[in-house]
Each structure stands twice: as structure tokens, then as C-alpha cells.
């Protein structure tokens, strides 16, 4: 019903209209599907991390521009609105249309809209005034952007809504930045979790193995010693950590050479000195690519036999 110049024929909004034309009446508003009760509770629970972190990012947005009436919404991947922030009267206007928490901003129900388009095209998208298919939405200026996980998969979206009198093109930049801010925050949390898991694994291994291990950093400062190694020395732990390895220990030339050349040595029998005590051990020295070193002391094995297989 609207004439479109050929060069705009590909615009996301036009393509959306074409889809809407076939199935809806632009002048008849129907409230969209809305999750409520236990369904809504369960949706909110599933998205708890998302809404919590989004709240920390979005809830103060209005303080930066107090003179504007804005609403900000976060939705899940199905365009179901999970949480609203911002100007209460604007939020109520949306609620009056059925666009409240739990409502699905699906294109086939409420026509062309920024949230659905952003999730459809995986791009920050604006839909302004009469670009909305449904006449009832012609009052609004909307900008939405998807939120991606590390694997590039979209799993949520954030949208800024204002009255058309309050329209500002910069809201598209803002919502795109919010989407990235939230996405990066969640990536950061995942990365911290992964880091914690690795630390757990590493520490459990270091505690459980029979080998003694001493680690020192690129400045030769001892950063770690496990219990098994600790037991071999007469010094207290806190008088080992932080000391320079080359000052605390007197290593034989074989070891000194490897340290200088930054080369590994595996399972060599040496004797070295610490505080006038001599320690004899089969050792492995191993440089890591950040300049640090691992120094293993292997217990002597029975006939160098490993756990036996009886066939």
C-alpha cells in the first residue's frame, strides 16, 4: 500500500513491511502474546544473570539525560521483554498497548518493530514512527541491538524507546554500545569463571602429586612451592616465597646452564644446596613462555618401574 523507491527496496524495514502486509491489518492493533504467572517466573529465572547485569548497566541511563522521556527494555532471544527501566509514564503507555513485561515483540503479532528486526538481522536497528507497520506504534521511536555471546550467537537484545517528539539519532549508537557493554560484561564473567576452574584444577594437581614443585617468575623470584617440595627444606614457606631462586639454591652447572639457555632438562639426577643442606634428587626444569620456570623434584622410583599392568 505504500510506494517504495527501488533503492530502498532492500532496507530491513521495507522487507519487514512486505512480510507484514501478507498477514496483518496495519490499522487493527492486537495485543501481543504475553508470558505471565509461572511461565513468566520461569523465564525470568532463566534470564536472571542477563537481567541482573543489564540492570547494573542500564538503570542509571536516564540520569545522564533527565530531560528526555526514555524507556529501556531488555529482551531474551525470542523478543520477550524481561525488564523495563526509565520513564514511568512512557512505560505505562506501552503497557496500555499490551507491551508490558512478558510481552513478545514478534513481527507477526505487532508488525515491524526494532526489537524483532534487530534479532532478525543481528544488527543494531532503528524503527521510527510510521516505519512501524502498525499504526498504533507510530507514536514511538525505537532503537534495538542484539547481544552476542563469545561464540557469536545472539541470545538477548536491548531497546531504547522514546516518543517521536523525543527522537534522537544518537540513541542508536547508545543502544549499540549498551548491547556491547552487557555482552562484554557477561564474557568477562565467563572468563573469570573459567580462570577459577583452571586455578582449582592446577592447585588440586599440585597438592596431590608426589613430585615436589617450585616455581619462580621471570625475575627468578620464587612464587610457589608445594607441600611435597616444602618438606625437603628446613626453611619456613614464607622465607622461601619471594626469594631469588639463584640466591636460595646453589645449583650444579648442568642446571645453571639450562637456566641460562632457557632449555628444559628432564629427569636428571643432581645434588643442590640450600642453607648448607644438600638435596639429592631427580629433577626436571622447564621454562614457560612468560619467562617463568617450573622446577620438579621427582621421588625415586622402584626400579624406575611405573604402576604395573598385570596381563
Amino acid at each position: 500500500h505504500r510506494w517504495v523507491a527501488p533503492e530502498h527496496a532492500l532496507s530491513p524495514v521495507i522487507q519487514s513491511w512486505e512480510r507484514c502486509c501478507r498477514r496483518s491489518n496495519a490499522y487493527q492493533w492486537n495485543k501481543p502474546a504475553i508470558a505471565s504467572g509461572a511461565t513468566l517466573e520461569s523465564l525470568l529465572k532463566r534470564s536472571k544473570d542477563l537481567t541482573t547485569l543489564s540492570a547494573a548497566v542500564l538503570e542509571d541511563s536516564e540520569q545522564y539525560q533527565p530531560q528526555r522521556r526514555l524507556a529501556i527494555v531488555v529482551s531474551d532471544i525470542s523478543a520477550c521483554c524481561l525488564k523495563f527501566w526509565g520513564d514511568q509514564s512512557l512505560i505505562q503507555n506501552l503497557q496500555a498497548l499490551g507491551l508490558a513485561r512478558g510481552s513478545y515483540w514478534n513481527e507477526d503479532q505487532i508488525g515491524t518493530n526494532a526489537l524483532a528486526l534487530a534479532l532478525h538481522n543481528n544488527e543494531a536497528t532503528s524503527v521510527f514512527a510510521s516505519e512501524h507497520f502498525q499504526q498504533a506504534l507510530h507514536l514511538f521511536s525505537c532503537h534495538a541491538a542484539p547481544i552476542f555471546d563469545d561464540q557469536g550467537k545472539p541470545y538477548a537484545a536491548v531497546m531504547i524507546v522514546s516518543d517521536i517528539s523525543n527522537h534522537h539519532g544518537g540513541d542508536l549508537a547508545l543502544v549499540a554500545s549498551y548491547a556491547k557493554e552487557i555482552g562484554n560484561l557477561i564474557s568477562l564473567e565467563n572468563s573469570v569463571s573459567e580462570r577459577n576452574t583452571l586455578i582449582c584444577q592446577r592447585d588440586a594437581v599440585l597438592e596431590s602429586i608426589d613430585d615436589g614443585l617450585i616455581a619462580w617468575d621471570e625475575n627468578q623470584r620464587i612464587s610457589f612451592i608445594n607441600r611435597q617440595a616444602q618438606n625437603l627444606f628446613n626453611r619456613q614457606r614464607d622465607r622461601i616465597i619471594g626469594c631469588k631462586a639463584s640466591e636460595l639454591f646453589r645449583f650444579p652447572p648442568l642446571i645453571m646452564h639450562a637456566l641460562q639457555e632457557r632449555s628444559s632438562l628432564s629427569h636428571v639426577d643432581i645434588t643442590f644446596e640450600c642453607d648448607n643442606d644438600f638435596v639429592s634428587s631427580k629433577v626436571t626444569v622447564r621454562p614457560l613462555n612468560d619467562g617463568s620456570w617450573l622446577f620438579f623434584m621427582h621421588p625415586e622410583q622402584v626400579d624406575h618401574k611405573s604402576p604395573s599392568i598385570a596381563e
Binding site: T52, L53, A55, A56, V57, E59, D60, L185, L188, E189, V192, S193, N196, T197, I199, C200, D203, A204, F224, I241
Partner: protein, 212 residues
Amino acid sequence: MTIEKSQILNWLNSCADIFAKERDYLTQLDADIGDADHGINMNRGFERVKDKITTIEDQDIGTIFKTTGMTLLSSVGGASGPLYGTFFIRAAAAGNGKQSIDLNDLCQIFSDGVDGVVARGKAQPGDKTMCDVWWTVVEALEKSKDEGQDLQQALVAMGEASEKGAAATIEMQAKKGRASYLGERSIGHQDPGATSSMMMVKALRDVVVGQA
């Protein structure tokens, strides 16, 4: 005498319970001189800390503090989120590799923490902020340490100091944060951030010493 890691974990869980219980009170304080969300946000942040604790129980105290800090940083929001987040992230250094901490460590931990809050928020004494509690707390701990008190006595002194520090904010005029917009009208109200800091400090005392 030391604070064991298990007590640190209990402390953080206890904070979660306290901020659930005192959510409305802290929110009311923040309604008087702010935007009425401090309790809501502390509750939100520490709920997440409580969830995360189960995954970090086996770590050293430093990692526990760092994870707590990063969680608060991203969940609490507002002005206090980055401040409490920075507090715990900075506090982590002195807990690295440790499974227990003594009075010395605690002084270092809280001192590093408040240094972080000050570096981030640039508060000065008397500005009517959470720092007005942390400074008195650190001062009390250092004093106890210098006087050779044991950990229990130091924690009791620390708890008292935190109460005094929070109460002292009542008569201050806010120079930082939202309350500063109210100018003189901020006088006569206890600062919400100072109050939540006091609650945190007393929770530690209670976990280690028991109700005083």
C-alpha cells in the same frame, strides 16, 4: 590467632543474608538522600556473590575476594557497585595464596581495599561516604595491632569503630555522589553506603567472634 577461609566464606554468605534482610532499611536511607536503590542493589549484588561462592570454595582467600569484587562490580550498579567491587579486588592481593589470615593481613586487606575505593571515588574524610566508615575501621585495626591486642579484641574494636563511623556521617554534608546534590539537606541522615559498610564489618566480627 587467625581467620580461617571457612570463616571468610561464612562472612560473605552472612553479608548476603544481611543485605536481603536490611534491603528495605538501606533503600529507605537512600530514599532520604539519594535515589532509593542502595538496599536493592546491595541485595542484588550479594545474592550473586552467594551463588558464586559454591564454585570458589576451594580457592585461596585472594581468589575468593577477587571473584567477589568482580561480581559486585558487574551486579550492584550505581556508584557503590564499582566502589565495593574495587574494594574487594584490591583486597585480594593480600589474600593471595592464603587459606587463613591474621590481624596483620586483615589490616593490609582493608587498607588496600579502602585505598582502592578512594582511588576510584576520590572521597575525602567528612564527605559523607562509605570511606568515612572504612577509614575508622582501618584506624581501629591498626591501633589494636600496635597495642598488641589479639584478633578477637581487634575485631570487637573494629565493630565499634564502624558503628561510630557510620553514625558520624549523620551530621556531615555530602560532597560526593547523589546526596551531594542536596547540599545542606543531606545533613541529619545517615549515609546509606556508610551503613552498608558498617553492616559488612560487623558481620565479619560476628562470624569470627560471635555476637558481641
